[in-house]
């Protein structure tokens, strides 16, 4: 169903961006999306200075445009549809601006998650004070999502093999029962995971090894990027 390895499969390339600390990359990505959201304001030309940063990041992470576009593909139809609808009510400029904003925001997120090992991304989120409970839940979801989704795939195949069909109510009922079964299996799995964790000394707090040290390069990267973004925002606000 899924290939879980695809998520951070480019994080091992030895490129400048991959070597930076996850915290810095998260800050820059969020700053990028947020500052762009505040600055562009229905004017497509204002996206240009922002897009330059993303293209620069893509370049220093040595990700091929093909890979990036392939990952973006599933999101594009919806962006197109939504910006078309927006065009009817706000005009063509706003429509193009919204599309570009959506496009480059997603691109920046894809670059972030492609170049950062998932475990480092989680550590980064924790280091940036995301509630610990959410961070550990994210890591569990990441670990078990593929297993549980696969399990539903198997249930579905077994259902199809017995000619599943018929009226909607009957189908809903059977799907509901499948979902209930999946829940029970997940609940039991959660219990087993918990026992296995207790067996290795878990006491209710997920401990992680200390954060990586922040290097001077990380600070410079974040500072330059944020200053650039603020400048891009204010300059484009005046000129474009």
């Amino acid at each position: 169903m899924f290939d879980p390895t695809y998520i951070d499969s480019y994080s091992n390339i030895d490129a400048p961006y991959q070597r930076l600390d996850a915290r810095g990359k998260i800050i820059v990505t969020v700053a990028f999306v947020v500052i762009m959201a505040f600055s562009v304001n229905d004017r497509p030309l204002r996206v240009i200075p922002f897009s330059l940063l993303v293209i620069f990041l893509a370049a220093i992470s040595r990700l091929s445009p093909k890979v990036l576009l392939r990952r973006m593909l599933p999101a594009l139809p919806f962006f197109l549809f939504a910006s078309l609808v927006l065009g009817f009510s706000k005009g063509s400029h706003a429509s193009v601006a919204a599309f570009l904003k959506a496009f480059f925001s997603v691109l920046s997120v894809i670059i972030l998650v492609s170049t950062t090992r998932f475990s480092n991304l989680l550590k980064g989120l924790e280091g940036l004070k995301m509630p610990k409970i959410i961070v550990s839940m994210i890591s569990f979801v990441y670990r078990y999502l593929f297993i549980i989704a696969d399990e539903y795939g198997h249930i579905k195949i077994a259902r199809e093999s017995r000619n599943f069909g018929g009226n909607k109510l009957w189908q809903w009922k059977a799907i509901g029962h499948s979902v209930g079964t999946l829940f029970l299996h997940s609940y039991e799995r959660g219990d087993r995971v918990h026992s296995a964790m207790l067996a290795r000394g878990y006491e209710g707090k997920i401990r992680t090894l200390g954060m990586q040290e922040i290097k001077r390069g990380d600070i410079i990267f974040v500072a330059i990027s944020v200053i650039y973004l603020l400048a891009a925002g204010s300059v484009s606000w005046k000129l474009l």
Partner: protein
């Protein structure tokens, strides 16, 4: 005898591009019980998913003379009953009744017929009267038998089982072997349990890397040490210790063995009595 499954040049690529099945050819006769063995990743489960059109590779598949086409799938899925490896994937209803009735209801049968088929199917697997039990609370062996009942209730012509003996305790395994032995319909059994295969089947199909590498008399083929080792298997103890096993190049002994060995099920029963 009539050919019930005929597969010609079946090739299937995973979405990742790896070959799961590679020009596979296989035919199964009516009433035959065929063991399909091979290492993990040999393509056994992929092959099974082709038998009722869940997967659709390149090549030709005919079941009971019916071509594998979209319009024929409901008919084929009624004729080919698949028992999947993990009972938890197959059983998803609140009661055993609902699970065994699932197929018949999908076939559009009347309430009366559904009830009749459910009780018959449960009786066949030795679980008569279990209708109201919760599948979730049953033992693994019982769950496996409910799975078998849940496809028998559709009156299939061909029963396909994926690893039926895995995770069973010895008693449940024995009950399963006796159960499968009692069924007259065509059976295709994919398994790593070579001893069970020896007891149940006269014919074996050895698969590796998505294709059939050996096909024939089970006692001859499973006795070929080189062949077994080459494909991640080993000669079963019951053959090894009765000196039936041969080497690929040792044709003479193989023939000797072929002529003189006893039918396996009897031998096992004899051992049991001791």
């Amino acid at each position: 005898m009539e050919t019930v499954v005929e597969i010609t040049d079946l090739t299937y690529l995973y979405p990742t591009g790896n070959k799961a099945l590679d020009n596979l050819n296989l035919s199964v006769l009516q009433g035959e019980r065929v063991a399909v063995v091979g290492p993990n990743g040999a393509g056994k489960s992929t092959l099974i998913l082709h038998l009722n059109g869940i997967l659709n590779g390149a090549g030709q598949i005919k079941v009971m003379g019916i071509g594998m086409e979209k319009g024929n799938l409901p008919k084929i899925r009624q004729k080919v009953g698949i028992v999947f490896q993990d009972p938890d994937h197959q059983l998803f209803s609140p009661t055993v009744f609902d699970d065994v009735a699932f197929g018949p209801i999908n076939m559009g049968l009347s309430e009366e017929d559904v009830n009749k088929r459910v009780s018959e199917a449960l009786e066949k697997v030795g679980l008569a009267g279990f209708e109201e039990r919760l599948p979730h609370r049953m033992s693994f062996g019982e769950k496996r038998r409910v799975c078998i009942a849940s496809v028998l209730s559709m009156s299939p012509e061909i029963l396909v089982l994926d690893e039926p003996s895995s995770s069973l305790d010895p008693r449940s395994r024995r009950e399963l072997i006796n159960l499968l032995n009692s069924f007259k319909i065509t059976q295709i059994i994919a398994t790593h349990d070579l001893e069970m295969a020896l007891e149940l089947c006269k014919r074996v199909v050895v698969m590796d890397k998505g294709t059939v590498v050996a096909d024939g008399d089970i006692k001859v083929i499973l006795g070929k040490e080189d062949l077994m080792l080459r494909h991640g298997l080993e000669v079963p103890h019951s053959i090894r210790f009765t000196h039936f096993h041969t080497h690929d190049h040792d044709e003479k002994r193989e023939e000797h063995c072929h002529a003189h060995c006893h039918p396996h099920p009897e031998m096992h029963e004899h051992k049991e009595r001791i």
